[in-house]
Structure formats: structure tokens, C-alpha cells
């Protein structure tokens, strides 16, 4: 009898300890000391969209601001959010709908710098179908199965709007999750009627006979910003100096990347498995400093309309 109580207490204390581990999260107090560079970690997805931060780090833009930058690879914007909230990542890269959803759920996340924007037509992201598919326009997608990498995110939100704009009923589309690398095969084998796919997978799909139905970002809004670098409201309050330094370095990086597409193509081969040949034909995203407010407002309104979030985001707080 006594023994079982002891075991119970031991179990409880283990659980208590792990609970403390999850909740105890003092953010590292970063002092803006002039001498030693401030070490920061930024969580990014290893895709073309994040080329500017890798380039800027290589060019020394962050070092010049007194930042010792570590670029940490994550699997997605949503996966980086706990890291930002706990203070492990000073900043992270994530798309606008991800941050809108997080803010809608009560997490105070705010952008400090732009990330990447639609390139126009052609773009780096598109909805594709099989070469012999009867689908010829966005409105034909009504009633069909469409794959996206993540549900209730920027992919399905923009696609729904594009379908509505084309006169289709977006509520009848069935979205399923298929990772970008598997999407081409899913279309090819008719497991989905259409797939939302990004470069470089888009390029190989088109080369193998797939047909582009819509460049959904560009068609949603020709000036749509896709993603950016965000942090917690707490960091912005407590360490404005750090935020300003990061912004300065990040904006320089964006301008540098936009002005030097060949540099972008070169750096991408260093942190992804893409080859120089693949990148030669690839459409690069646009990199610019300022967020386009009307396009972001439209995106927020679409996210509310399609039930991704409950209330429209306050962009004056969310964007820098």
C-alpha cells in the first residue's frame, strides 16, 4: 500500500517537473551592449523565399548591426511560433495567414520585416492540373479536390478567393493536404483534380506536362506580400533596439536580394538540395521592404470570409 503511494508521488513529481519545463520560459534578456555582438536565432523555412536572410548574413549586414545571427531551419511558420513565444527564436519567418490565425487565437505576434511577395505572372506558385484535365479555369475547380500543403492557410484562402472572383462556388471545393514534393505525383495519378504547388516543384511539374490554371497569389492581388519575419509583442516592447537593428539589416538584405537575382540563385543551392540548373528557369519571388497594406487587408477579409479566422486582423498592430 505504502509502496503504491510512493510510486504515485514519484509519477506526479515527474509530471509536475515536465509541466514546469513547458511553462517556465524566461526570455533571454539581450542587452544592447556595444562591444559584444548580440546573439540571435531566427527560425526560417529552407526555401527560395528566405534567400535574403541567408544572403544578408553572408554579406555581413547583420554583423554590421552588431547581431550575431544564427539561421535555424524550421519546417514551417506554424512550427516556428512556439519557438518565438518561448523566446528561443528572436524572430521567425511565416506567411501572413499563419500570423493572422495566431493573432486570432490570442497570440501577440507582429511582423518586423517583409519577407517575399508575388512576382506577378508567371509566379513562383500556381494551381496545376494534369495536361489532359477538363479543368481550364479557376471556376472549374468548384466541386473538385484540390491539394494544398497546409489547410486553412494562405494556399486555400487565396485559391477560394480566386475561384469566387472567376464566378465559381468555392465552398464546394474539397481541400486535402499533400506536401509540395508529393503534389505533382498526386495530380499525375489523378488522386487529386488539382494541386497548389510552389517552385521548384512547379517547374518540374510543368516540364512533365502539367498545366497551370492560375497563379493564385498574383491573381488574388498583384501586390500581395506572402510572408515576412515576425516576433512577439513582448520582444517589441522590451527590446526595441534589437528589433530596429534586425529591421535595418533585414531591409538591406531584401534590397540586396531584389537587386541581385543571380546571388539569390547561388545562395539557394547552399541551403537547399536544388541545383543551379533548376534555379536557372525558376521564377523568383519579389523582395521588397514595405508591406502592401491594401493587399494585406484584402487577404485578411478573405480569411474572415472563408472562416480561416474569426475577426479581421488589426494590420496597424500586425505590420511594422
Amino acid at each position: 500500500m505504502k509502496k503504491s503511494i510512493l510510486i504515485g508521488i514519484a509519477t506526479l513529481s515527474v509530471i509536475t517537473l515536465s509541466a514546469c519545463g513547458a511553462s517556465g520560459m524566461p526570455a533571454p534578456a539581450e542587452s544592447g551592449g556595444a562591444a559584444a555582438p548580440t546573439a540571435i536565432t531566427v527560425g526560417v523555412i529552407p526555401i527560395v523565399d528566405t534567400a535574403p536572410i541567408w544572403l544578408g548574413n553572408e554579406q555581413g549586414f547583420f554583423a554590421e548591426e552588431g547581431l550575431d545571427l544564427t539561421v535555424q531551419v524550421t519546417t514551417g511558420g506554424a512550427a516556428a511560433v512556439p519557438g518565438v513565444v518561448s523566446g528561443d527564436y528572436a524572430f521567425a519567418f511565416g506567411n501572413l495567414v499563419s500570423v493572422m490565425v495566431a493573432r486570432d487565437a490570442g497570440l501577440d505576434l507582429r511582423y518586423v520585416a517583409n519577407g517575399n511577395s508575388t512576382a506577378g505572372t508567371p509566379d513562383f506558385g500556381a494551381i496545376i492540373v494534369r495536361g489532359d484535365s477538363p479543368i481550364t479555369s479557376a471556376s472549374d475547380l468548384a466541386g473538385k479536390t484540390v491539394s494544398v500543403n497546409n489547410l486553412q492557410n494562405i494556399g486555400d484562402t487565396t485559391i477560394r478567393q480566386v475561384v469566387e472572383d472567376d464566378g465559381g462556388d468555392s465552398s464546394t471545393i474539397q481541400f486535402v493536404e499533400v506536401a509540395f514534393p508529393d503534389a505533382e505525383a498526386a495530380v499525375e495519378n489523378s488522386q487529386v483534380d488539382a494541386a497548389w504547388i510552389l517552385a521548384p516543384f512547379l517547374n518540374s511539374a510543368v516540364a512533365n506536362g502539367a498545366r497551370v490554371i492560375s497563379y493564385n497569389f498574383a491573381e488574388f492581388d498583384a501586390d500581395l506580400d506572402i510572408a515576412g519575419y515576425f516576433t512577439s509583442g513582448e520582444t517589441i516592447m522590451n527590446d526595441p533596439e534589437l528589433v530596429t537593428k534586425f529591421q535595418t539589416a533585414m531591409n538591406r538584405s531584401l534590397e540586396y536580394a531584389q537587386a541581385n537575382p543571380d546571388e539569390v540563385r547561388r545562395i539557394v543551392t547552399t541551403y537547399t538540395s536544388m541545383t543551379a540548373d533548376q534555379l536557372q528557369t525558376m521564377v523568383l519571388p519579389a523582395f521588397r521592404v514595405n508591406f502592401n497594406i491594401p493587399a494585406a487587408t484584402k487577404l485578411g477579409a478573405a480569411a474572415v470570409k472563408f472562416g480561416t479566422i474569426k475577426t479581421a486582423p488589426d494590420l496597424t498592430v500586425m505590420l511594422p
Partner: protein, 257 residues
């Protein structure tokens, strides 16, 4: 009285844990840490109603079909492989090879070959959950009491009657052990199979909540999984007690003697 004591033992630790959890989360907590009262309310809101039919029921259907297929296939192949020495030597290396492949890595491949549908999810469940049943059945069949085996041979009991009255009952304690292990593996794989290329199910819903930062909703889904786990274990214990009544009785007699 004894019954009451058992019930108290059963719910004792869960109640204690929930009380501690409640006390520890009284103050302000991290966004990702759920609170028991909020969670209970969320649980009710999320799982009682439409979602029960659109996500819970399809998941459980796939789980049950997967488990039945697992047991049937596992026992059939287990009896075959266990009965013939040459077949055992022939298949053993392959079994070890396939057994070591984690089923989640097969999901993208199965999506290509089978499609994004229920069959794919059931195959994922079967491909991972079959091993305990299969291997335990093989061992159980091999270990059938040699005296009984010789006796039935002497009486010319062969073919189906031998299977029905000697091999299967003889192997049943081991088969049931395998089934119990497979049940929990099947539950885990049910969740994993729904995390890719899905648009309904418990695993799908939990991932969706997690990505939408609907943290209490996400935890409520995890609670549902835990409850399903308890229910499965109670059901398999019940079945085991019925199937193995003779065996447990035999053991008691042997202990008494």
C-alpha cells in the same frame, strides 16, 4: 465492497493528476498549457455534435476495419508460417526487414500507389499493427504442446479439425498477447495515417487545431485519443477473458495443485 475498491483504484490516479494539474495552472500560464476547466468545456463543445460524426466516427471505422484485417491476416499467415518449418526459414529474413520499416515513412508511397482514400489509411494501420499478431501467432503455433500434437496425430486428427481444436486454441494465449499489443499500435497509426492527405478524422483534426493555435481544442482531441485507448483496452481485456477462460482456469488449477 471489493467492486467499490476496484473502481476507486481505477479512477484514483486520474483524479489526483487532474487536481494537481488544476492547482498548478491556477495562475497565468503559457499559451500552450491547457487548463482543466477550459479543456472540459472545450471537449464538450468540440466533440459533442457534428464533429463526432464527421471526424470521430470515420476514424473509429477505419481503426476497427484495420484491426480486424490485422488480426485475420496476422493469424492466417502466422498459422501458415508457424506450421511449416521450410516456410519459416524462407520468410524470416523478409519479415524482419519489413517489420523494421516504420509505417509513417510508407505513407507518401502508399498515397501514390493506393490513392488518398480510406484504403490507404487502413493499409497503413495494417502494415504496422500486424507484426505483434503475426510473430506471436508463429511462436504460439510452434509451441503447441508436443504431447497433444502427437496425441492428435495418433487419433488421425488432421486438417481443419486439428487447426480448430488443437492449433488455434493452443496458440490463443500468445495470439491474444499479440492482439493487445497491436491494438495500441493500430491506434497510433490511425492518427498518423490521417495526418497526411486527409480531410477527416481525429489525427487530421488535431493537426488542424494545432496549426490554427486552437490549443485547448487540440488537447481535447488528444484526450479523445486517450479515452479511445482506454476503451480499446477494456474491450480487448473483456474478449481475452472470454477467449482464454479455459487457459486462465487451467493456470489456476495448476497453481492450486
Amino acid at each position: 465492497m471489493r467492486y467499490l475498491k476496484n473502481v476507486l483504484y481505477f479512477i484514483g490516479l486520474p483524479v489526483l493528476l487532474v487536481v494537481m494539474w488544476w492547482a498548478l495552472t491556477l495562475g497565468p500560464t503559457n499559451f500552450f498549457v491547457p487548463k482543466p476547466l477550459v479543456l472540459a468545456q472545450t471537449f464538450w463543445d468540440v466533440w459533442v455534435g457534428e464533429r463526432f460524426w464527421t471526424d470521430f466516427v470515420p476514424s473509429i471505422q477505419r481503426l476497427v476495419i484495420g484491426l480486424v484485417a490485422t488480426i485475420v491476416l496476422g493469424v492466417i499467415f502466422g498459422v501458415l508460417i508457424g506450421s511449416f518449418r521450410w516456410l519459416r526459414s524462407f520468410t524470416e529474413p523478409m519479415l524482419e526487414f519489413f517489420r523494421a520499416i516504420p509505417p509513417p515513412v510508407l505513407v507518401p508511397l502508399l498515397m501514390l500507389l493506393v490513392g488518398i482514400n480510406d484504403q490507404m489509411k487502413i493499409i497503413v494501420i495494417v502494415s504496422g499493427a500486424i507484426w505483434p499478431v503475426l510473430l506471436n501467432t508463429i511462436e504460439g503455433v510452434r509451441a503447441v504442446d508436443p504431447v497433444l500434437s502427437d496425441t492428435s496425430k495418433t487419433y488421425k486428427i488432421t486438417g481443419f479439425p486439428r487447426l480448430r481444436y488443437l492449433v488455434l486454441p493452443g496458440a490463443s494465449p500468445q495470439i491474444m498477447t499479440g492482439v493487445r499489443q497491436s491494438t495500441s499500435i493500430a491506434l497510433i497509426l490511425m492518427v498518423i495515417s490521417e495526418m497526411f492527405g486527409s480531410s477527416s478524422g481525429l489525427g487530421f483534426t488535431i493537426v488542424l487545431f494545432q496549426r490554427g493555435f486552437a490549443i485547448p481544442e487540440m488537447w481535447s482531441g488528444i484526450v479523445v485519443l486517450g479515452l479511445v485507448g482506454i476503451a480499446l483496452s477494456l474491450i480487448s481485456q473483456f474478449i481475452e477473458r472470454r477467449v482464454l477462460r479455459w487457459y486462465n482456469g487451467l493456470k489456476e488449477v495448476q497453481h492450486d495443485g
